[in-house]
C-alpha cells in the first residue's frame, strides 16, 4: 500500500544563494539588479553632486552656462532591425538622454569596438545610418575612436557615445521633483522597440512588421517646454531598458512619492500585445527608444498634452497616471477591474541586449 507523505510542519528549503559575486545579464537590464550595482559599486566610488541626481544626463556649471553631458553604450543584437540599426539607435539614445533634461544637443563623440571578422560593409551601413540620424537631429559627430577585439569577443560591433549640449536658461528638470497631484504623461504606445528586436531574434513574423520606435525626442521636448511656466514640467525620462515600469519606479523612488497608473489608459499596439501574450511578457517592462514619460503640474497638463499631440512624435500622447502622497516609492496600477496591483521593478532581465 503506497504511503503518502505526512505534513508535520517541517519547513524545507534550500540555502539562499545570496548576493551574486559575478556580473549577471540581469545587471544590464535596467531593473533592480542594475540599480543595486549603481548603488553598491559606482556611486560610492564617484560620489559628486552632479552624479548623485542620477538623471539621464549630468548638468554642470561651465563658463556661466549650464553644460549637459551624457554617455551611453549600445550593444543591441541584432545590429540591424526594422526601424533602425545600432548606428541610428546610438544617436537617438544619446540625444534622448540629453533631451530628457531639456537640453539642446550639440555634439557627439562616437567610439566603436569592432569584432575581428566584421564585414566592413556592415560597418559602412551602420556609419551611414548614424550620420544620417545625426544630421536629421542637427548634431555633429566631432570625435571618435576605434578598437578591434579578437573574434568571439565582441558580437560584431559595440558603440559608446558621449553627448554634449546646453541647458537653455535656468531650466531644472530632475526625477526628484515629482509632487503629489502631478500628472504622468506618456508620449505614445509602449513596447515597440523591444518587440521589434525580439521578433528578429525569435523569428516571429508580423502581419504588419513591428518597427522599432527609435527616434530623437529633443524637438518634441522643446515643443513641450514652450508655452508652459518654468517648473511646470518636473521631469522627463525615456523608458528604455526595463520599460515604463523601471522609469516610473525610478521617479517614485527619487522623488519619494507614490505613482498610480491607470491600466486602461496605457496604449499598446495590437501586434505588441499579441507578441507579449504569446511569449509571456508584460509590455510594462519592454524597452522603448522613441517615447518619453513626463511628470507635469496638473495646471499645465492640458497645455503640455496639446503641444505633444501637435508634434509627429507625440500624436498619441495621453495622461496615464497621477503622483500620490501615499505608497511612497511604489508604483501601483488600477486594473481594468478596478483593483490595485503593484507595478514592480524588474528583478533581472526579460529581454537581454535590447539596446
Amino acid at each position: 500500500m503506497s504511503k503518502f507523505p505526512e505534513f508535520d510542519g517541517v519547513l524545507t528549503c534550500p540555502v539562499s544563494v545570496g548576493v551574486s559575486e559575478r556580473i549577471l545579464l540581469g545587471h544590464g537590464s535596467g531593473g533592480r539588479l542594475s540599480a543595486e550595482l549603481i548603488q553598491s559599486v559606482f556611486l560610492p566610488a564617484f560620489d559628486n553632486t552632479a552624479l548623485n541626481h542620477l538623471n539621464d544626463q549630468a548638468i554642470v556649471d561651465f563658463a556661466g552656462k549650464q553644460l549637459a553631458i551624457t554617455t551611453d553604450t549600445f550593444v543591441v543584437k541584432p545590429l540591424f532591425f526594422p526601424g533602425g540599426d545600432i548606428g541610428s539607435l546610438a544617436v537617438h539614445g544619446t540625444i534622448n538622454d540629453l533631451a530628457m533634461g531639456g537640453v539642446q544637443p550639440l555634439y557627439l563623440s562616437v567610439a566603436f569596438i569592432l569584432e575581428e571578422g566584421l564585414e566592413i560593409d556592415a560597418l559602412r551601413r551602420v556609419v551611414t545610418s548614424l550620420q544620417r540620424a545625426a544630421e536629421e537631429a542637427g548634431v555633429q559627430v566631432v570625435t571618435g575612436d576605434t578598437k578591434v577585439v579578437e573574434k568571439g569577443h565582441g558580437d560584431g560591433l559595440f558603440i559608446n557615445t558621449t553627448g554634449i549640449g546646453i541647458v537653455p536658461g535656468r531650466l531644472h528638470l530632475s526625477a526628484d521633483q515629482a509632487t503629489p497631484g502631478d500628472r504622468v504623461i506618456l508620449s505614445g504606445p509602449i513596447g515597440d522597440h523591444g518587440i521589434a528586436i525580439l521578433a528578429q531574434r525569435e523569428g516571429l513574423s508580423f502581419e504588419t512588421t513591428i518597427q522599432s520606435d527609435s527616434a530623437a525626442l529633443h524637438t518634441l521636448v522643446r515643443a513641450m517646454l514652450q508655452g508652459v511656466p518654468s517648473g511646470a514640467i518636473r521631469c522627463m525620462r525615456d523608458p528604455t531598458r526595463g520599460g515604463l515600469s523601471s522609469t516610473a519606479n525610478e521617479i517614485a523612488a527619487q522623488s519619494k512619492v507614490g505613482i498610480v497608473l491607470q491600466e486602461e489608459k496605457i496604449p499598446v499596439r495590437e501586434e505588441v500585445r499579441g507578441a507579449c501574450e504569446l511569449l509571456g511578457l508584460d509590455p510594462l517592462y519592454v524597452a522603448n527608444e522613441g517615447k518619453l514619460v513626463a511628470v507635469v503640474d496638473p495646471a499645465a497638463a492640458e497645455a503640455v498634452l496639446k503641444a505633444m499631440r501637435a508634434h509627429p512624435l507625440g500624436r498619441e500622447a495621453c495622461i496615464i497616471g497621477t503622483v500620490t502622497e501615499s505608497n511612497r516609492g511604489t508604483v501601483v496600477m488600477r486594473t481594468a477591474f478596478g483593483t490595485m496591483r503593484i507595478v514592480d521593478m524588474l528583478p533581472g532581465d526579460q529581454l537581454p541586449r535590447i539596446c
Binding site: 513574423s205 502581419e207 495590437e270 500585445r273 499579441g274 504569446l278 509571456g280
Partner: protein, 96 residues
C-alpha cells in the same frame, strides 16, 4: 508554465512528414506544430503551448459560455445595485 494562447491557423504545411501551421495571435504570426491536433484545418483556432497546438478551440462552446455570461450580466444590470443580499460580506475597500 501552462501558458497556452489561442490563435488562428492561417496556413498549413508538411515539413518532412510533420504537420506545421502558421498561427496568428492578434497581429503576429508564429509557427506551431500540429502533431497533437492532426484534425485541425485552416481557419480553426488552436491553443498553442511551447510551440505545439494542444487543442482545437470549440467555437460553439466558447460562444455558449460567452452567451451565458452575457445573460448573467444583463440580469445583474436589470436587478440593479440596490439589491444587496443581506448575508453577503464584502471585502475591503469597495469601488462602486
Amino acid at each position: 508554465m501552462c501558458l497556452a494562447i489561442p490563435g488562428k491557423i492561417v496556413s498549413i504545411e508538411d515539413a518532412a512528414g510533420l504537420r506545421q501551421a502558421r498561427v496568428q495571435f492578434g497581429g503576429i504570426i508564429r509557427e506551431a506544430s500540429l502533431e497533437l491536433v492532426p484534425e485541425a484545418q485552416i481557419g480553426d483556432y488552436v491553443l498553442v503551448h511551447v510551440g505545439f497546438a494542444i487543442s482545437r478551440i470549440d467555437e460553439d462552446e466558447a460562444k455558449q459560455t460567452l452567451a451565458d455570461l452575457e445573460q448573467m450580466a444583463r440580469l445583474t444590470e436589470e436587478v440593479g445595485a440596490d439589491e444587496m443580499p443581506e448575508h453577503s460580506v464584502q471585502n475591503g475597500p469597495s469601488r462602486q
